[in-house]
């Protein structure tokens, strides 16, 4: 079963790492690199709905918080699990992030750990 993952991050190296890492660890993963929030919604509108969205917070244009809010606004996107994948590590962000998403992972992270956490979310 193919697990489609949106990796939304403005940083190409992060998009690359997650794609290569996850796909190397588990061939069932299909990581779609997305470079911005705008692009993310474009893809969602074209009926490409992922199993999970990995979301950076600090991005030019639409930031992670905004993307999350807009995702929860629309009924057919509301159930997509979100994992924040961010360099923002302050207490408040972490706390809020954990509350409004499935998980909150701080960069840099181990791919194996990321995979573990995604698997856990997708299982339930």
């Amino acid at each position: 079963m193919v697990k489609t993952v949106f990796m939304v991050d403005d940083e190409p190296s992060v998009r690359y790492t997650v794609k290569q890492g996850l796909e190397a660890l588990d061939p069932e993963f299909n990581v779609v690199p997305v470079e911005s929030g705008e692009k993310c919604f474009e893809m969602l509108e074209s009926n490409l709905v992922p199993d999970i969205i990995l979301l950076d917070i600090m991005m030019p244009g639409m930031n992670g918080w905004e993307i999350q809010r807009r995702l929860k606004e629309k009924l057919e996107w509301r159930s997509i699990p979100i994992v924040f994948l961010t360099a923002t590590g302050d207490h408040t962000s972490r706390k809020i992030g954990r509350m409004i998403s499935e998980d909150y992972i701080e960069k840099p992270f181990k791919i194996s750990e990321l995979k573990q956490r995604i698997d856990k979310i997708l299982q339930t």
């Binding site: 290569q20 660890l25 960069k107 181990k110 791919i111």
Partner: protein, 495 residues
């Protein structure tokens, strides 16, 4: 507390004592002078009388003419009312008895000798010098008597003695009044002295001192514009000038310190901001390293390259930890960082931490005992407290022997605080390390743990504990004997 004595009280006591001593000694000297003046006066009178006797009884025969002598003495007594008694003592060959003559207001006593007096003894004390007189003063039933002994001088020869007793009562009466007046004046002047002294003391010393005291208080409270307006040209005036200068200097240095402080605060803010930004910017480029390197290493078949990759992965991990901890510390230091305090069950909190670390602890063969009583409720930030325990447990594991060890966690209630102890069986430390251990980038064992520890874990612990209003410290009996970390937390009253 010791009793306080005011300055005026002390000075008044000294002034009163000194003036009382001076007045009393002056009075005493005055009395003595007056007395010796009286005595001299009576001696002079006695000598004058003796000379007139000498002249009137110039003839030897007249010694025996009692009637004549008595008449003469009567005349003398009338003109000398203070003369109470006169005895003429002559050597044995003269008929002594017939010569004892008394002068008294009581007529019966005149010419009747009394046996009470031993004239012989007086004769024995007579000296050949003409002017020598002896006197003694006796007080009998409240009246003051002076007895003067003077030689009987007949044709240039000492023939015996006159013994004259005068009453000094009249003089004493005058003298007493004088003394009373003197003492009254003394006491009066003493009071005047004390009151004027107190007035002057208040006006010129105590009041200015109060001014100084109030000014010092104001300055202590930080009001450096305080000025002392004492225009006197004495030492207090000089002190006031010096005091004002001190306040001005203090103001200057405070302004300087405030300037430095502001700069320092700005620099610290900049530093925190810089660290935050740097950390954030470092995290993104580190992501591919942390994410992909372990995968590459695991897939690598060549053992040599695999070994290289091992070292690289290890270093990247270290870098990751360093960035995490540095950022954490910078955030903990920041004023804007808020803690979410709540009532927490300490035992449950520790159990949670131990559960999450189960695997790690088992890997290192560490045994952990949580002896905290289930009733201990603390006022703490849950996540931060977990971080604190995590750091302390990781630390204990890091410095434990390779064969494993035991960590004992306990808590002791004291008033409104609880002291948590985390005891390990690790390498321990020397006394000089106990203080440094909480310093940033300090590592207990530099040689073997260079790449395992950021040296920031305990600094973070210290920050967390301080933000909770507690303190953290460590005790160790010495290297190789284990150590115990202690920290305090606020206790929630569960009554």
């Amino acid at each position: 507390m010791k009793r306080k004595f005011s300055l005026s009280l002390k000075l008044t006591f000294i002034v009163v004592t000194v003036s009382a001593i001076i007045i009393l000694s002056l009075t005493y000297v005055n009395i003595s002078n007056q007395k010796s003046f009286f005595e001299k006066n009576y001696s002079v009178r006695a000598i004058a009388l003796a000379k007139s006797f000498d002249a009137s009884i110039a003839f030897h025969d007249e010694f025996n003419d009692t009637q004549k002598l008595q008449n003469y003495i009567k005349n003398v007594s009338v003109s000398n009312p203070e003369l109470l008694q006169i005895s003429i003592n002559v050597p044995d060959e003269v008929d002594v008895d017939s010569l004892k003559v008394y002068v008294s207001s009581d007529e019966d006593l005149i010419g009747n000798p009394s046996d009470e007096y031993n004239y012989e003894s007086y004769i024995l004390t007579i000296q050949t010098n003409d002017d020598t007189t002896y006197y003694s003063i006796t007080d009998i039933e409240g009246s003051h008597l002076i007895t003067v002994i003077t030689p009987v001088n007949l044709s240039g020869e000492i023939a015996g003695t006159y013994e004259m007793t005068f009453s000094m009562d009249k003089d004493y009466k005058v003298f007493d009044v004088q003394m009373r007046n003197l003492i009254a004046i003394s006491v009066f002047s003493l009071f005047i002295l004390i009151f004027s002294f107190l007035f002057l003391l208040r006006r010129f010393v105590v009041k200015p001192i109060f001014v100084f005291r109030n000014a010092a208080r104001l300055i202590g409270e930080g009001n450096l514009d305080t000025e002392i307006n004492i225009a006197s040209r004495d030492e207090l005036g000089e002190l006031a000038v010096a005091f004002d200068k001190m306040a001005k200097d203090l103001k200057k240095s405070r302004a300087k310190i405030e300037r430095y402080n502001k700069t320092l605060e700005r620099l610290l803010d900049q530093k925190d901001e810089f660290i935050g930004q740097l950390g954030h910017d470092l995290k993104n480029p580190l992501t591919p390293l942390v994410g992909l390197l372990p995968i590459i290493r695991d897939q690598e078949k060549d053992p040599k390259i695999k070994e290289h990759l091992d070292i690289i992965v290890h270093n990247v991990e270290y870098m990751r930890e360093l960035i995490f901890k540095t950022l954490q510390l910078a955030r903990l230091r920041s004023e804007n960082t808020k803690f979410d305090f709540e009532d927490l069950n300490l035992k449950d909190g520790v159990d949670g931490v131990l559960e999450s670390q189960q695997l790690y602890l088992r890997e290192h063969m560490m045994k952990v005992e949580n002896k905290i009583h289930k009733d201990v409720i603390v006022w703490a930030d849950k996540l931060r407290l977990a971080e604190l325990f995590n750091n302390l447990i990781t630390n204990a594991v890091k410095y434990a022997p390779e064969t494993g060890g035991t960590i004992t966690i306990n808590a002791k209630k004291e008033k409104n605080m609880v002291t948590v102890s985390i005891k390990d069986t690790g390498i321990g430390m020397a006394s000089e390390q106990l203080e440094q251990i909480f310093d940033e980038f300090y590592k207990a064992d530099k040689s073997t743990h260079e790449m395992d520890s950021s040296g920031l874990g305990l600094s973070i612990c210290k920050r967390i504990v301080e933000k909770h209003g507690g303190r953290i410290w460590v005790e160790s009996p010495g290297p190789g004997k284990g150590s115990t970390f202690y920290f305090t937390l606020k206790l929630v009253d569960t009554k």
